[in-house]
Amino acid sequence: MVRAQPCPDHLLSLNSAHATRAPGGRAIPLWRDVRVLRLFGQIVFLAGVVAVFVYLGRNMLAAMQRQGLGLGFSFIRLTAGFDIGEYLIEYSRSSTYLRAFEVGLLNTALVSVLGIILATAIGVLVGVARLSRNALVQFLARAYIEFLRNIPLLVLLIFWYTGVFLKLPRVNQAIVGPGGLLISNRGVNVPWGNPTGSLPSYLAILGLGLILALLVAFWCHALANRTGRAPLTWLWAPMAFLAVATIGWIGLPVAPLTLQAPALQGLRVVGGKQLTPEFMALLSGLAMYTSAFIADVVRAGLQSVPKGQVEAAKAVGLKDAQVLRLVVFPQALRVIIPPLTGHYLNLTKNSSLAVAIGYPDLFSVSGTILNQSGRAVEVIAVVMAVYLLISLLTSLLMNWYNRRIRLIER
């Protein structure tokens, strides 16, 4: 007995003219035609998905009606009525929910960006140390990686917060560091520049410096293209910027920032900038945890560069540092970038664990908004959408960078 077999697709597309006719010349009935079946199957699938969503949505609306709640985003204009510990933009308890949301978003952005920079720095360092010829250094790097990779981030954060930062001495016995640095269980107080009247004009000067640095960079590139010598862009462009910044600082009648060290007044710290224990614990925990993963990525990337490349680079007379900078690193970068993107995204998403130690990030603030307003569905939808947006933007950016540095084969 011969059973009709559905044709594989590539065959189907080749002889599509015969596809609707069986070998005998009779037309294939509709219910055995692969194309009809596929279309039908997809329609059924889509209908099923839509039906599930409609069912869940109706249940949700019914449940919300029972609780006397409606759907809608008008609530974000209402007064928030709660305080937030730290904010980068003006905020008080009479601000709107929208403002509270923005405060949380900015805090997430702050801790993510700083965390990514720190984690990359530590990660590269540990990753290189992992390949060190010094056995002790190698062991230390390995212990660091193996310890951090195998514990949950949340445990690390909570331990870091309650076990380290909150156990620091009281503020009246604060540890005094260099430059007036104060470390106590209320956080770390660092010297900070206070803006004076000339700050806006100084910012304008810095903008000019940036433009000049870009011009210098272009010029360096053009020169390199003309002469064929290595462009020293990374030397001259920052130098140009620094020169403008220095001249501007000295040239202005009043210095744009006055440095102020924190000082103890009774049980209060005045002046300087307070970095709260929550912020410090979150930042250091995130950076440490992610740096262990980055270190592993860096190690794998460096190891992926064939040994012959190093030997060849040494043979043409490059120095050790040059070998690393000009030969090994650019090639390792191609292996490093894709997983690195993943870890940057993880760090950003993991910053939502701030809620466990009371740092007011996006998720934590949203939780408070949810409790205050009772608008669970809307708040959760917004939070998820924002994280999704951040993820998609970061992947787009990193994919663009990855395309730029990838190997272009002959």
């Binding site: 997809q42 195998n150 949950p152 445990v155 331990f159 466990a356």
Partner: protein
């Protein structure tokens, strides 16, 4: 330092006289240049300071009674005292199957095996290491493990199928035993999942999460590679949506919105809600893992399967998936470890897993200020299992010959 000279026969150097000596090794490793010397001194100082302060604190200052007093809470949460034997039964079963598998497949690494067996014994023999009720169980554990090992060692290849079957049956059986079967008066009364806690809950969340999400993950991966656009785009949308948001938002959604999604009158308890969230989350990651395995199967396999007359479903189930899944076993173990660590997030939504229990213990008035001890203890537990699993997965990778054909 070396002068460049044309290599004529006159200045060809004799072979090096250097012999591998301890001093030479030390020199090359630690003191070969001034920078290396600095590194060595710095690293040694760091090791000394860290070890001294940590050990000094752990041995003299730390008050470990917070762990000792609460060990039962940390292990099983508020699981009823009279029913704890059921948890022990599951652990014994695990020891038996583990020993059996060790005897069948691994055989070597006797020292590691002996260490694993000696650990519970040592705990049992320590004066303050175990409660009187736990002691017989702890002593029984290595015995059962050894019996399993001997059985596996002598039955060899014949027992392989049995062992695989036992592993597959283990989790459902465990959940059945932990959850219970009969009403309160019966011989295996139902224990509500609201009182599951501690390490037990952590393990159950992990195991259920990995196993239940796996079929969904496979379906999603197949959907993502499907040639049917609607199915492909639905799968991509689900996977990218879930992977783009933090787990804690999904757990939160599961806790708050799941009751809203269900028809009135149906309630789901908190542990189950967290499980649903974890499964939804893990399925997307599993899908990406499986997709990696699917991509590694050469296209010729599809063509050959079609050529011998298999249809699409048969090709997928009989030819492609077995090869793809074999490729991804180590990745799946990695996912298991990641999930094991991630289950700690259920503490944020108020569940009493290992971390949640520790948090609630240190908030009790009599244990206030003992956060370091409690959290360090659970850190060690988390670390130990995760590290061991990571190493087993590396061995598995070698044993399976992943990447080789």
């Amino acid at each position: 330092m070396t002068s460049l000279a044309p290599s004529t026969t006159a200045n060809i150097l004799p072979p090096p006289l250097e012999r591998p000596t301890l001093l030479g090794w030390l020199y090359r490793n630690f003191f070969s240049s001034w920078f290396n010397v600095l590194l060595t001194i710095g690293a040694a100082a760091l090791v000394y300071v860290v070890t001294k302060s940590v050990l000094g604190w752990a041995l003299t200052e730390a008050r470990w009674e917070v762990v000792l007093v609460n060990i039962r809470l940390l292990m099983v949460g508020q699981y009823p005292m009279a029913q704890v034997w059921r948890v022990w039964l599951c652990v014994h079963m695990l020891a038996a199957i583990g020993g059996l598998s060790w005897g069948i497949w691994i055989r070597r690494y006797r020292l590691l095996g002996a260490l694993v067996l000696a650990a519970p014994m040592a705990l049992a023999l320590m004066p303050s290491g175990a409660s009187p009720s736990a002691r017989p169980h702890l002593i029984a554990l290595p015995v059962i493990g050894i019996i399993g090992f001997v059985l596996g060692r002598f039955s060899g290849k014949r027992a392989q199928r049995t062992a695989i079957g036992l592993w597959i049956a283990y989790l459902p059986l465990t959940i059945l035993i932990i959850n219970g079967l009969t009403a309160q008066t019966g011989w295996l009364p139902v224990v509500s999942s609201n009182v599951w806690g501690g390490l037990l809950l952590t393990f159950l969340l992990t195991a259920v999460g990995i196993l239940v999400s796996f079929p969904f993950g496979v379906l999603l991966a197949l959907g993502r590679r499907s040639q049917l656009p609607i199915i492909r785009w639905t799968s991509i949308a689900y996977i990218e949506l879930v992977r783009g948001v933090p787990l804690v938002t999904i757990l939160f959604m599961a806790q708050i919105m799941l009751p809203l999604f269900l028809p009135a009158g149906i309630t789901v308890d908190r542990v189950l809600r967290a499980m649903v969230g974890i499964i939804l989350f893990t399925a997307a990651y599993q899908a990406e893992n499986v997709r990696g395995g699917l991509q590694a199967v050469p296209h010729g396999q599809y063509e050959a399967a079609h050529a011998v007359g298999l249809n699409s479903v048969q090709t997928t189930v009989l030819i492609i998936l077995p090869q793809a899944l074999r490729n991804v076993i180590p990745v799946l173990v990695g996912q298991f470890i990641a999930l094991y660590k991630d289950t700690s997030l259920v503490a944020i939504v108020g569940l009493l897993d290992l971390l949640g229990i520790a948090r609630s213990i240190v908030s009790q008035p009599q244990f206030i200020g003992l956060q370091r001890e409690a959290y360090l203890f659970i850190t060690v537990i988390y670390w130990l299992f995760s590290y061991v699993m990571a190493h087993l997965s590396q061995r598995l990778e070698v044993a399976l010959g992943v990447g080789e054909r």
